[in-house]
């Protein structure tokens, strides 16, 4: 083996390593993977043909707690026309339960105990929410929750999809 080939091999190995460690994050235009394939704890609603908000959250994340009343407001406001699914990524179910006792909500909560779904979706921050159209395609993406400005964006985006 000559030196040039060795160098090329080493470079290729480094590049491959970088590629393998960088998971492809779900972005606008992508289709959310089928949620039934990730052994999520909790009941998944039928989302066929519905506008869906999929929110990734954790009990230790303060902006997640701030976002919950807004997501609950949206679920109540749009009723059957909108489905909110909040995917919890806590390591311990007890932390999630404790959080939910404090923050009572009416929307769907599931737990990604094995963190398989979240690893597939690879959100950039906590919380991250994806707004999907009736075909399950990501139309809007929110990294983090920024109070009233995010609330206004949610409403405008959901209403654009409900038209």
């Amino acid at each position: 083996m000559n030196t040039s080939l060795l160098k090329k091999s080493l470079l290729a190995a480094l590049l491959a390593g970088t590629w393998l460690t960088a998971a492809a994050a779900l972005k606008v235009g992508d289709t959310l993977p089928d949620l039934t394939g990730f052994s999520l704890e909790g009941k998944l609603p039928d989302t066929k043909g519905k506008v869906v908000v999929v929110d990734f959250w954790a009990s230790w994340c303060l902006p997640c707690a701030e976002s919950f009343p807004v997501l609950d407001e949206l679920q109540k406001k749009y009723g059957d026309r909108l489905i909110v699914i909040a995917v919890n990524v806590d390591e311990k179910a007890s932390n999630m339960d404790k959080f939910l006792k404090k923050h009572t909500v009416t929307f769907n909560i599931v737990r990604d105990a094995g963190q398989k779904l979240v690893a597939t979706v690879s959100p950039e921050t906590m919380p991250t929410s994806f707004i999907l159209d009736g075909e399950g395609k990501v139309r809007f993406l929110h990294n983090g929750f920024h109070g009233e400005s995010t609330r206004k964006e949610y409403i405008s985006e959901i209403e654009s999809l409900l038209k």
């Binding site: 030196t3 994340c61 690893a119 950039e124 906590m126």
Partner: protein, 76 residues
Amino acid sequence: MIFTMKNKAFFLLASVVLLAATGCANVKPWQREHLADYTMRPDRDPLGVAQKEHIWFSREEASGGSVVGGGGCGCN
């Protein structure tokens, strides 16, 4: 001959880079539960922080800039 000085230097550098890369922990946003814990906050002990800042001020004639708010949650 593969092991010339130039090649040796290259392999040494590559080994250092690879070893350094293995030392980097890439903590994903959803794995920051322990980093977000209260005990990870640098300002969790107000008295301790005040004492340290007093010592710092006495020694350097400057204060502040040592602690930022929040823990290691990395949220938002």
